[in-house]
Symmetry: C2
Subunit: 387 residues, 2 copies
């Protein structure tokens, strides 16, 4: 199995951009990825995978070729991958497989979503299509509702309260305020977060990520190609797993099994464990999801996530910074872009280009991207300073 490296990564700003299109956002991300790769020749790219849920129904079919033709990648094999909010995390994984297979030497993985140009009801429809259809979506259960059930179950099971969700928000906004690409790049106080209006009890507005427009792109390559590049981050481990799409069909509401299995696969492939991780970008679509991720990824024991956030372990200057980018909460969550965008942050951190939010001495980073409420999950372990 040949080694694969991330040799370039870039993204658009995340936010609400009425003057942009999915094509222009993807182009910005692509050009940024190329720039970060020291201007490699686009002609070297021999595979492309684009993640998107297709929110809004824009070019719902063939949108992979539609965005790659827009950036001038004519002819390159390209497909769209969809796994709800994990679309482009899976796109990165698929690009890694393409290079490992020997069928490609340099592969582009990216994603995009445009979500802010529609009414609330239309947005709710498009967000809801990733929920289990018959017994969740069509009975009126939104994703806020699904995660609220998980939050309630967690509070019942462990020594946790909504204040811990608020602390996640404060931390991620503090990080996002240092990220010029963040959608909600402002700090918030604990009082702000605690006293926000309820969305789905026990989750309030500050416990939920925004809907965003944005795009991200990552270039992965074989070791031989990577040796010629300015920067290269090794894809040491890749793991993915599925879980029942509907929450009601699962054994546990206080863990996401697909995350656990994906992480175990990625750790095994990388030959590392949770203790070796220097920082992580995790899927905090709701604050409870970040706490579950701490446990599912093995950063702490079951029920210990509130303790981790209380002690500041996962803050930017803590022992294990989580979501240095600001996470989905503050950086934003343009569905199809999110997974690739996490790899963009990891690449920046591992190549010392993360500016005000740079984590000193970071060598091993982890990215964690979830589809739906855990129907799909994908984890990457990335290692800097190898080549």
């Amino acid at each position: 199995m040949r080694d694969v490296y991330v040799v370039g990564a870039g993204q658009s700003k995340y936010g609400a951009f009425p003057d942009e299109s999915y094509r222009s956002l993807f182009e910005t991300a692509y050009e940024s990825a190329l720039d970060s790769a020291g201007g490699i020749d686009p002609g070297d790219i021999d595979e492309a995978v684009v993640g998107s849920l297709g929110v809004g129904g824009r070019q719902l079919g063939l949108s992979g070729p539609a965005v790659t033709e827009h950036v001038g990648l004519h002819g390159v094999p390209c497909s769209r991958i969809e796994n709800a909010c994990a679309a482009s995390g899976y796109a990165v994984r698929q690009a890694v497989q393409a290079v490992k297979s020997g069928m490609a030497d340099v592969a582009l993985a990216g994603g995009y979503e445009v979500m802010t140009d529609m009414s609330g009801d239309v947005a709710k429809y498009w967000l809801g299509v990733s929920g289990e259809t018959e017994w969740e979506r069509l009975t009126g259960t939104t994703f806020s509702g699904v995660y609220a059930q998980m939050a309630s179950a967690y509070i019942d099971a462990y020594d946790a309260s909504p204040d811990h969700f608020s602390k996640v928000a404060v931390k991620n906004h503090a990080n996002g305020a240092k990220n010029p690409k963040a959608h909600l790049g402002f700090t918030c106080s604990f009082d702000d977060a605690r006293d926000a209006p309820v969305v789905a009890d026990p989750l309030n507005l500050y416990h939920c990520c925004p809907t965003s427009d944005g795009a991200a792109a990552v270039i992965v390559a074989s070791e031989e190609f990577a040796e010629k590049c300015d920067d290269a981050v090794r894809v040491a481990g890749v793991g993915a797993a599925s879980e029942r799409v509907g929450l009601f069909q699962r054994d546990s509401y206080t863990s996401i099994r697909s995350t656990e299995e994906a992480a175990n696969t990625a750790y095994e492939m990388a030959g590392v464990g949770p203790d070796d991780i220097d920082f992580a970008e995790v899927h905090d679509c709701f604050a409870i999801a970040e706490l579950l991720a701490y446990e599912d990824l093995g950063f702490c024991e079951r029920g210990e996530a509130p303790n981790l956030i209380d002690r500041g372990v996962t803050e930017l200057d803590g022992d294990l910074p989580v979501n240095p980018s600001g996470g989905l909460k503050s950086k934003g969550h343009p569905i199809g872009a999110t997974g690739a965008g996490q790899v963009v942050e990891a690449f920046s951190q591992l190549t010392g280009q993360a500016g005000d939010r740079q984590i000193e001495g970071a060598n091993v980073g982890l990215t964690h991207n979830v589809g739906g409420s855990g129907g799909a999950a994908v984890v990457h372990v990335l290692e800097g300073g190898v080549l």
Copy 2:
């Protein structure tokens, strides 16, 4: 690059099935593929890729995990791939990459679509979403209209007439009448085909494929695993390419460049040429598409496709049978199932299980799956009798 084999393949009947769902159809295809693989243990499957356009908006997000959980493949990494009508051709390719990468040993690739339970206008919307949005779909151009432009251009350029399209229909219906899985499994006369009502001049009803419900599934595996299986067909070559999504942006209306490039890649990888192909399943969504495929795949020179059909070369008992299954025209076209379904036919032919439509002595088969009017294309070269 390690060798990959198809070790099992099956499909549902294609047709209009008001009593079935996308889940039940997928289950039928999956069970059929397992049966054809001599009952391999589903626990051996360590990757799944599902192709679907999502017609009708059923479980539009996370439908990959939704169908694999239905068949009991819990936990297995699964994603949905979308490339319009080439979705599951690309799914097969992705499964091949997964096994070649070493990240999987046994991978399931399948696809499904349910298309017949909606009104004509709704179906037209869902079929149209793979067209170029701004200048084709939103200006009222349907796929029949796009292919009619290609047909007109072809008739202008070469010695061809709508009668050649009718001959394609007669041939494919003759084959489909021998296929118990075919949607329109009846023969038609040349007069039937010639005198059918116009859909988009010069294409009439018999020059267009139906919309169908159906599913298909293929199991691919490493050589080591394949050696233990009852049947194994080598995936000798795989090629894919993109092309401008909108027809109006292309240099030629009388060829599909993505098909040419995909075929060239697949031939090169397999170390064969068009002359080595014993039979082919090609993407005859419209009769003109089959004629273009003859030329783009290198079966004849430019402008010679009408001659090929006139001489009966591509009939079941000809020198190079094309669409022994009946093709999209007679077997049917459940969008997301079509590409994998072509591989099902090739597997049947290469393992001597094609019943009344068995091609004697067939050792090398080709499958050709197109998305939209050529925005994506994928070609597989499959070889029997290797293991």
